[in-house]
Symmetry: C2
Subunit: 330 residues, 2 copies
């Protein structure tokens, strides 16, 4: 592993891009070279003063960047962007449409293999660290069950769904795990839980003046896929209250593997991995930067192709050398 800094580029400068900028600043072995944007570069002001270029400038900077961290969205940006940019760069993305991961993997793998680059996809916490823990748990306790609880945290998709209702000006939706269900799983009871038994949904809604609040509440609670299968509470609040009390983007969750060992399955074990995050995008960005370090190192070793968190050994993520890690952390 080189003593030289790993030179990062950021593609897309929203919440995730700003988080990568902050995380790179805290990493002693990283240097943030540039932000690339589809907006007019002069209109974008970065937190740390790092220069901003248009996407077209990428072509001339192939030798100036070791890893591009792709901070676009999974619906419209990454399916095209990741395989395209993997032709010229090592890349890391946070593609999180679970059902489409195999297809995205295949596209990115073909591009990265052909060009001799490393591409790490679906990095973050779910998919990402949660996936890693599901794999660990299943490997260690094959005779067991997996549970994933999300929250307490803001769901952007559910907040957006409420905002589309007529008469709603703004909204914030929190996904909250049901404490009693979580306790049963932690106690090793291995319960079978319905959707309604695992999570509740709490909504804070700013309605237009004179809007029919009863109708809005009913439309939320009966909305298929998003709310109909959950116990949902709706609070109408003012625009000022929303800005004051719900401006953050906290999230988190828990992955639990509960399983049996012993000749007769007489001993129970619970493995729990829990995240409590003040800022969902900043934490995801921090995971992206750790895996960007791995991408640079793997590329340096001659590795090629698409990888996920399941394919990368922990030592690649940490700035210290394997010797130091064995001495200090093992």
């Amino acid at each position: 592993m080189s003593l030289m800094s790993i030179r990062l580029g950021i593609v897309g400068y929203g919440n995730l891009g700003r988080g990568v900028e902050c995380a790179a600043k805290r990493a002693a072995d990283m240097e943030l070279v540039a932000v690339f944007t589809r907006r007019e570069p002069s209109s974008v002001k970065t937190l740390t003063g790092v220069p901003v270029y248009s996407m077209e400038a990428l072509e001339d900077m192939k030798n100036d960047v070791d890893v591009l961290v792709l901070c676009g969205g999974s619906a419209n940006d990454l399916p095209m962007q990741t395989p395209t940019l993997a032709k010229d760069f090592n890349v890391v993305d946070s593609f999180d449409t679970h059902a489409r991961i195999p297809e995205h993997f295949a596209n990115v793998d073909a591009a990265a293999r052909e060009s001799g680059h490393v591409a790490v996809i679906s990095v973050g916490w779910d998919p990402g660290l949660f996936s890693l823990n599901r794999a660990l748990g299943g490997a260690i306790l094959p005779d067991g069950s997996d549970y994933t609880f999300w929250g307490r945290g803001v769901s952007q998709g559910h907040s957006d769904a409420i905002r589309r209702i007529d008469g709603v000006l703004d909204a914030r939706q929190y996904t909250i795990p049901v404490d009693s269900a979580l306790e049963r799983v932690r106690n090793g009871e291995n319960p079978t839980l319905t959707t309604r038994e695992k999570h509740i949904r709490e909504c804070f809604v700013v309605a237009a003046e004179g809007a029919d609040l009863e109708r809005i509440e009913n439309e939320i609670k009966t909305m298929p896929n998003y709310f109909a299968d959950y116990d949902t509470t709706v609070h109408f609040i003012s625009k000022e209250e929303l800005m004051r009390d719900h401006a953050g983007i906290p999230h988190g969750g828990t992955v639990i593997r509960s399983g049996k060992t012993g000749i007769d399955g007489q001993n129970g074990h619970v493995i729990e991995f829990k995240l409590t995050l003040d800022s969902n995008p900043e934490f995801t960005s921090s995971v992206l930067v750790a895996y960007a370090r791995a991408a640079a190192r793997l590329h340096g070793e001659g590795a090629v192709g698409c990888k996920t968190v399941l394919d990368i050994a922990p030592a690649y993520l940490h700035p210290e050398s394997p010797d130091e890690l064995r001495r200090k952390l093992l």
Copy 2:
């Protein structure tokens, strides 16, 4: 990865060896070939009927075993046994003397490289899964603090120390994390904690008839290294109570990384990994078997030398293929 079974051998048949036997039985891709012991083989009866051989038989079975799981102790067995057996076999051990890991690694690495085998050392939960989580946490949240709490669980070393006191017939010592300290860490307070503030020690002691209980209690509570730095409680109980209520070997613990992100460190995050184990040796054995799978696969790919949990990607541990893992777990 081969569709053929991975053929395991167990070296040493105590609690850990029996745990490996049980774990191998639950792994569809594993076949337990033999147990090797220093005792007279005919005196050892296995749980599943797997054959028992003397250590001398190992020499003739080099082609019959893919991975040897070494179930001896870190003080007297593994420092010699792991490098010696790595000359003829892929091996996995649970060497847990933290301070001597670099030396053990160097010895095992030299032997395994020379012979072209894979040796995975210090596998279990601490060192092991806890180390993995310390590396992950530090890599993702570089501006933060690590905390490890052990228990509630039986400490064999502390129980043995009590048994050496004059007048003590038997004893069991539980290490217990201090709830209030754990809560402060979980809340992201980043406290500086003394030894006494992190754990308490609870002892259940069977004393000889007529022994001076006050002297025994005082000797326990003032014992340097083991108890003097802790708040310790001592309960005198009967042999029958000890057998009835304290026959199990539960353990567990929690690794927490607490850190900050954002341009001014304004957002806090807590990563927690927690184990609650009915049987410490059976869980450790289950981790050993998952890493034995990785050793066999790595050897099949041509890898050589000594590895730890920090050097092995999660996908190697799980029986399903990388394709299946991406589809089901990511």
